[in-house]
C-alpha cells in the first residue's frame, strides 16, 4: 500500500469515528418529549385552552414510570406526557390543572403566592385564591413557575391517603383530584420560556431536587410562545 492510501485510510476512519461520536451525542441531546401545540379557536382568536394534569407517578409506558410528571391534553383529547407547550403570542392562555398528587409544606413559602396570572389569582375548586399557605391542609403539590413570564402558580396538594388516590398516570376524574384554573397572557416576545416546579419532588434524590426535577418532560419544561 502506498503512502497516500495509508493516509486516506487513517483520515477516513478518524472521520467515521468522530461522526459516530457526534451522532451519539446529538442523538441523545435531541431526545425531547413531544410538544403539544395549542391553537386558538376560530371564534375566540386571542385565547387558547390548556388542560394539564400532574400525577404522583406518570405510570408504565414512560421512561421513568415512578416519577411524578405532567400530562397535557392534545387537540385530539389524548393525554400526552410532556412539559413542552406551544402557545401563540398576544394570547390569553386559560389553564386548567387537574392535580392528583399529594402535597407538603413549602421549602420557601414565597412560592405559595400566585403571580403573573390575570388578577394574580387562581380558581381552586371553585374558589378564587391568591395565596396558598402550604403549612395548612395538605400543602402544595407542585408549582408552575416561568420566571421570565413572571408566572408563578402553586398547585394545591391532596392527602396521600385519599380512598381514590391515583397511583399511576394518566389519572382520571374518578380519582381524587383538585381542579385549579387560571389565565395568563403570553405577551409579545416570542421565546421559549422555561418553566419548572419549585417543590423538590424528586423522591430519592438529594434534597428531592434530582430526577424528575431536572428532567424535561417531568418537572421542567418550556412554554413555547410563538409569533
Amino acid at each position: 500500500m502506498n503512502k497516500g492510501a495509508r493516509i486516506s485510510i487513517v483520515l477516513v476512519s478518524a472521520a467515521v469515528a468522530v461522526g459516530l461520536i457526534l451522532f451519539g451525542i446529538f442523538g441523545y441531546l435531541r431526545t425531547y418529549p413531544p410538544t403539544v401545540v395549542f391553537t386558538p379557536s376560530p371564534t375566540q382568536p386571542h385565547t387558547v385552552d390548556v388542560t394539564l394534569q400532574v400525577d404522583p407517578d406518570v405510570g408504565p409506558g414512560h421512561a421513568h414510570p415512578a416519577w411524578p410528571g405532567w400530562f397535557a391534553k392534545n387537540a385530539q383529547g389524548k393525554w400526552v406526557q410532556t412539559t413542552l407547550y406551544q402557545v401563540p403570542e398576544r394570547t390569553y392562555v386559560h389553564v386548567t390543572v387537574y392535580e392528583y398528587d399529594s402535597g407538603g409544606p413549602l421549602r420557601n413559602p414565597i412560592w405559595g403566592k400566585v403571580t403573573g396570572t390575570v388578577g394574580n389569582d387562581v380558581v381552586l375548586n371553585g374558589k378564587t385564591v391568591s395565596l396558598l399557605d402550604a403549612a395548612q391542609g395538605f400543602g402544595v403539590g407542585h408549582t408552575i413557575v416561568a420566571p421570565a413570564l413572571g408566572l408563578s402558580v402553586p398547585v394545591w396538594g391532596l392527602s396521600g391517603t385519599e380512598k381514590t388516590f391515583c397511583q399511576t398516570g394518566p389519572c382520571t376524574l374518578s380519582n381524587a383530584h383538585n381542579v385549579e384554573t387560571f389565565t395568563f397572557y403570553t405577551g409579545n416576545h416570542p421565546h421559549n420560556y422555561r418553566w419548572q416546579c419549585f417543590i423538590p419532588c424528586g423522591a430519592g434524590y438529594l434534597n428531592g431536587n434530582g430526577g424528575p426535577m431536572a428532567t424535561t418532560g417531568y418537572m421542567a419544561g418550556f412554554w413555547k410562545v410563538v409569533a
Partner: protein, 305 residues
C-alpha cells in the same frame, strides 16, 4: 568561518546601536500605551464604577494592565526588530559574535522584574484586604466592614433555580426581583436553600458563594450611576443553571423607596407566612417542601428555618 577582529567590532557597534534604537522605540510606544491604558481604555474597563467594589476592581485592572503593557511591548518590539533586522542574508555563512554575559543588562533585568513582581505581590495583598477590595468585605466573617451608619440589608437566597431577595428592613418581605438605591451602602447576606450556588452581580463588582447553612456577607456602596445590572448564578448547579439569572436596577433613592413599599404591600400576605428573618434560610430537616431531607439534623445544628 571565524570572524576577523574588524568584523567583530563592526557587529558589536551595530548591535549597540540597534539596542539603543530598540530601547527608544520601546520607550515611546510604552509611554503612548500607558496613556491609552490609563486615560482612554481604563475608564471603560469592566466591571465599571457602579459601586465602590466595581470601581476598585476597575482600578486593579487598570494597574495590572499598566504594569503589563511595557513588558509586552518589550517582547513585541524586540521580536519585531529581530525579525526585520537580525536575520542573516542568504550568502552570509559567518559565525555570530561569541556571546558573553552582560552584567549590567542582566542586573537591570533582574532588578526590574523583581521590583515588578514584588510590587504586584504587595499591591495584590493590599487590594485584597483594603476596604472595598476584592476579598476584604466578603465571606462568612469579613475582615473589613464599611463604616456607614445605615446599611441596606439584602438577603440573597439561591435555590434550584432562582434567586429571591429578603428585605429585613422592609418587614422581612421577600421578592423575586431586586432594585437597589443609589448612593447607599449595601450588605448582601448570601445563602442557599439547597445546593451550592453563587451570587454574581457583575456590574456591582459583587460575587459571593451561596452555600446552604452558611451566611456569606458581601458589602458594597452604590454610586449615583443608575442602570441595570445582571445577577447570575456562577456555580454549576443543575439543569437550569444557565437560566439562573435575572436583572436588577440601581435606581434613585426615592424610586427605590417607592418600589420597596409597593413590594411590601404586594407581598404582605406571603410575608406573614415566611419564617422569621435569619441569616441562613435552611429548610427544616423535618422535610419542608418535599420531605426528602434526612429526618435528623446531620450536623447537630440548631435549625434556623
Amino acid at each position: 568561518m571565524a570572524m576577523t577582529e574588524e568584523a567583530m567590532r563592526e557587529r558589536k557597534e551595530y548591535a549597540k546601536k540597534a539596542g539603543w534604537k530598540i530601547f527608544a522605540i520601546w520607550l515611546v510606544l510604552s509611554l503612548i500605551g500607558e496613556v491609552l491604558v490609563l486615560y482612554v481604555w481604563g475608564p471603560h474597563m469592566p466591571p465599571g464604577d457602579m459601586t465602590t467594589s466595581a470601581a476598585s476592581q476597575q482600578f486593579d485592572f487598570k494597574v495590572l494592565t499598566a504594569m503589563v503593557v511595557p513588558v509586552l511591548l518589550m517582547v513585541w518590539v524586540y521580536g519585531a526588530w529581530s525579525l526585520i533586522n537580525f536575520h542573516a542574508t542568504k550568502t552570509d555563512r559567518g559565525d555570530g559574535i561569541p556571546l558573553r554575559g552582560n552584567r549590567r543588562v542582566q542586573g537591570i533585568w533582574y532588578v526590574t522584574s523583581a521590583a515588578l513582581v514584588l510590587f504586584l505581590a504587595g499591591f495584590g495583598t493590599y487590594e485584597l484586604i483594603n476596604g472595598n477590595g476584592v476579598g476584604s468585605g466578603e465571606g462568612p466573617s469579613p475582615i473589613w466592614k464599611p463604616t456607614a451608619k445605615h446599611m441596606l440589608v439584602v438577603q440573597v437566597i439561591a435555590q434550584q433555580w432562582r434567586f429571591t431577595y429578603r428585605w429585613p428592613q422592609f418587614g422581612g418581605m421577600e421578592t423575586t426581583s431586586i432594585d437597589l438605591p443609589a448612593d447607599t451602602t449595601i450588605q448582601f447576606d448570601v445563602t442557599s436553600l439547597d445546593v451550592i450556588h453563587d451570587f454574581w452581580a457583575y456590574q456591582l463588582g459583587v460575587k459571593a458563594d451561596a452555600n446552604p447553612d452558611v451566611n456569606n456577607v458581601a458589602y458594597t456602596t452604590t454610586s449615583n450611576q443608575l442602570g441595570r445590572f445582571t445577577v447570575r448564578c456562577d456555580e454549576l448547579c443543575g439543569i437550569w443553571h444557565g437560566a439562573m439569572y435575572n436583572y436588577g436596577h440601581v435606581v434613585s433613592k426615592s424610586a427605590f423607596y417607592t418600589w420597596a413599599s409597593n413590594m411590601e404591600a404586594q407581598n404582605a400576605s406571603v410575608t406573614k407566612l415566611l419564617p422569621p428573618f435569619a441569616t441562613t434560610y435552611t429548610p427544616s430537616y423535618s422535610g419542608a417542601g418535599g420531605g426528602y431531607y434526612p429526618s435528623y439534623d446531620p450536623n447537630g445544628h440548631a435549625v434556623t428555618y
